[in-house]
Symmetry: C2
Subunit: 361 residues, 2 copies
C-alpha cells in the first residue's frame, strides 16, 4: 500500500493515519473540522491535502450514523479504490450504505477493538492497534481486492484481523462487551442505597463485577443505541436464567427437603454453566484461559516495596501473568497476588520466602 | 483475655486459635475429628485438652447447620462464660439457638470476612484476619460482657469489628457477596455456547465481570442455601431493573424518534444508578472509592521487565494504588496500568519516560 486517505481525524482516524504514515504510506487527511485535520497533520499523521488521484484505501473514521452519507460523497468524488470504516457496530451502517445506492463491492466494514479514555487527534497514537483484534465484515458483494487492501491496512497497523459477517460481529460485541457492561451497572445499581455497614463488607468479588459500572453513561447510550436489539437478545436470555435462579433460591429456603433439593439443582445448573462460560474466555495471546496459580505476598503500603518485590521476582526468573493488589479495609499492609504458571508457583514462593517476604501460600 | 476454647479446628478455628495463642491466650482445642485437633495442637494453635474451669470465650467454628446443637452441648458442660461462632450467615443459627433453649444472653454471633482457597487446620494462619472486617451480631438478649469478650477476641486477631443486627448482616452479605457471585455466573453462562470468534473479542470488562464465575459450585450452593431468601430479594430487585433495561433497549432500536428517546432515558437511569452504586464501594483503608489515574506503561513479556519497571517506580517515590496487566490478544508486549493518586501521575510519567519507558498517557 502506497497511498491512503483518512476521513475523520479524531482519536481512531489519527491513530490509523499515524500508523500508516510510520510504515511509509502517503496518507491524505480530511475532516469537517479544519482544526482537527491541521492538528493531525502537525502531528505527522499525513497531508492536509486532496489526493491527486484515487488512493488505494479510504478509512472512514466518522460516527456510525454518518458512514452512509460520507461514503456516498467520497465515492462520488472517486476518492479511493476501496473503502472501510471503524464503527463499533456493523449491520446498521451496511443497511444505510445499501439503501443510499453506494458501490458496496468496494466497501468492507471494519472495527478495531482498541480505544482510549481520551478522544480527539491529540490522543492519537501510532501503536494504538498493536496486537488488538481488528474485525473486518465483508458483505456478500465486497470484492477480494477490497478485502485484501483492508487486510494490508490492518497488518500495517500491527493489529490481528478477524473476518466476520456484520450480524455475527454485532452479536459478538453484544455478548462480550455491551451486555457485560449493563450487567455490571445492574449489580452496581443494587448498591446505590446500601448502608455504609453493608458496603464495608465488600470484597474483591463485588469490586470486580462492578468495576466497569463507573463508566460515562452518555458514551454507553450511544454504543448501546447502535446495537440495541442484539444486546436485548443477550439480556433476555440472561433474564430467563435469572428468573430460574430467583425461583431456585426461594425453593432452597423452603422447609421441605425435596423442594430444597430441586432448588439446589437449579442453582447448581447455572453455576456450572457459569464455570463453562468462564472457561471459554481466551487467556493471554488468544490461548485458552490458563489456570494461573496465585502467590499472595504481604507488602508494606509505602513507596519502594513493590520495587523490592519485583526485583526479587525478577531474580527468580518467573514470569508474572497477572497481578492483583488487595488493600483490605483498615489493613496496614497490602496483599499482592502474583498470578503465575502453576509449575512455577513453588519456585517463586521459595525464592520470595528466602528473600524475607511473607508468602501466604 | 487469658483463656479461650475453639470448637472445630478447620481453617477458621485453627486460625483463631493460632492468633489467640500468639497473643498469650491459653487456648483449648476441640473437634469431633481427633486428627484435626492433634494437627492444630502440633501447629502450636493450643492444647488438646479439656479446660479445668470455664474459659472466658468459646469460639464455635463449626458449619452453620451445627451451631445450635453444638452450643446446646457446650453450654450444658459449662465450657465458657461466653460463646460466639464464625458462620457466614447469622439469622438462621440464632433461630435454632433460641428454639433449642440455649442461654442466648451469653451468645453473640460472629462472622470474620476472611478465608482462603484451602481448608483444614494445616491451612490455618495466625494472620488470616489481620485488617479484615469481623462482624458481630448481638441479639436483643446478648449481655455486654459477652459483647466485650468477643470484641477483645476480634482485637487480638487484629481484625476490625463491625456490629450489626443478624438480619442486617445477612442482607449485607447477600448484597455485596452472594448476589454478585450469581450475577457473575449468569453473565458467564451466556458465553457457554459462544463461538470462538466471539470470545476472541473479549476485553478486560467481561473478564472482570465473570472472574468469580470460575468458583466451585458445591461450595456456593452451601453458602447460598443458608441465605437464600435474602439473596433472592436482591436478585428480584435486579430482575425488575433488567426487565426495564430489555424494554428500553427494544425502544432504543425503534424507528420512532420519540420512542428511542424514552429508551435512551431508561438506559441512562440504570447506568447513572450504576455509577452511584459503584461510588458507594469503599476504597483502600475504608476511605470512599478514590479516583486514581491510570499511567499505562508498555512492557516486554519476559522475566525481569516488571522488576526494572518497579525499580524505576520506586525511585520516583510514587505509591502504586493498584495494577492491571493487559495482555491483548496476539500482542507481543503487555500494557501495565499503574493506578496512582492523580496529583502524582504526571511526576511518574515524566520519571518513567526519562527511564526509557513508553507511557501511553
Amino acid at each position: 500500500m502506497r497511498t491512503a486517505a483518512v476521513v475523520g481525524t479524531g482519536l481512531i482516524g489519527t491513530s490509523v493515519a499515524l500508523a500508516l504514515t510510520s510504515r511509509g504510506v502517503t496518507v491524505y487527511l480530511r475532516d469537517h473540522d479544519s482544526t482537527a485535520v491541521q492538528t493531525a497533520a502537525a502531528m505527522g499523521a499525513g497531508l492536509d491535502a486532496v489526493p491527486p488521484e484515487p488512493v488505494e484505501l479510504a478509512v472512514l473514521a466518522v460516527p456510525p450514523g454518518r458512514i452512509g452519507e460520507t461514503l456516498k460523497v467520497v465515492q462520488a468524488e472517486n476518492l479511493a479504490l476501496s473503502y472501510t470504516d471503524v464503527a463499533s457496530v456493523k449491520e446498521q451502517p451496511l443497511h444505510e450504505i445499501e439503501a443510499l445506492g453506494c458501490d458496496v463491492s468496494r466497501y468492507i466494514g471494519g472495527h478495531p477493538l482498541a480505544g482510549r479514555e481520551r478522544s480527539g487527534p491529540l490522543a492519537g497514537r501510532a501503536d494504538l492497534f498493536e496486537g488488538r483484534p481488528w474485525v473486518l465484515t465483508p458483505s456478500r458483494n465486497t470484492d477480494t481486492e477490497t478485502l485484501n487492501r483492508a487486510l494490508e491496512m490492518v497488518s500495517l497497523c500491527r493489529a490481528v484481523p478477524v473476518v466476520m459477517a456484520p450480524r455475527d460481529h454485532d452479536h459478538a460485541v453484544a455478548l462480550v462487551s455491551h451486555a457485560p457492561h449493563l450487567v455490571s451497572a445492574l449489580m452496581a445499581a443494587r448498591l446505590e442505597y446500601a448502608r455504609d455497614t453493608d458496603t464495608r463488607l465488600a470484597g474483591q468479588g463485588v469490586r470486580d463485577v462492578t468495576r466497569i459500572a463507573g463508566s460515562d453513561p452518555q458514551l454507553w447510550i450511544d454504543i448501546l443505541g447502535a446495537n440495541a436489539n442484539a444486546v436485548a437478545d443477550v439480556l433476555a436470555g440472561l433474564a430467563a436464567d435469572l428468573d430460574t435462579v430467583v425461583g431456585s433460591l426461594r425453593s432452597l429456603a423452603a422447609d421441605d427437603e425435596a423442594k430444597r433439593d430441586v432448588g439446589a439443582r437449579g442453582i447448581e445448573g447455572v453455576l456450572r454453566r457459569g464455570n463453562a462460560g468462564h472457561a471459554r474466555i481466551p487467556g493471554k495471546h488468544g490461548q485458552p484461559a490458563a489456570r494461573y496459580e496465585a502467590v499472595p505476598v504481604v507488602v508494606g503500603d509505602k513507596p519502594g516495596e513493590l520495587a523490592r518485590l519485583f526485583a526479587d521476582v525478577g531474580r527468580a526468573e518467573v514470569n508474572i501473568e497477572d497481578i492483583r493488589i488487595d488493600h483490605a479495609q483498615g489493613r496496614p499492609a497490602g496483599l499482592v497476588e502474583l498470578q503465575v504458571d502453576p509449575t512455577r508457583a513453588e519456585a517463586l514462593t521459595v525464592a520470595l520466602r528466602t528473600g524475607g517476604w511473607t508468602v501466604q501460600r
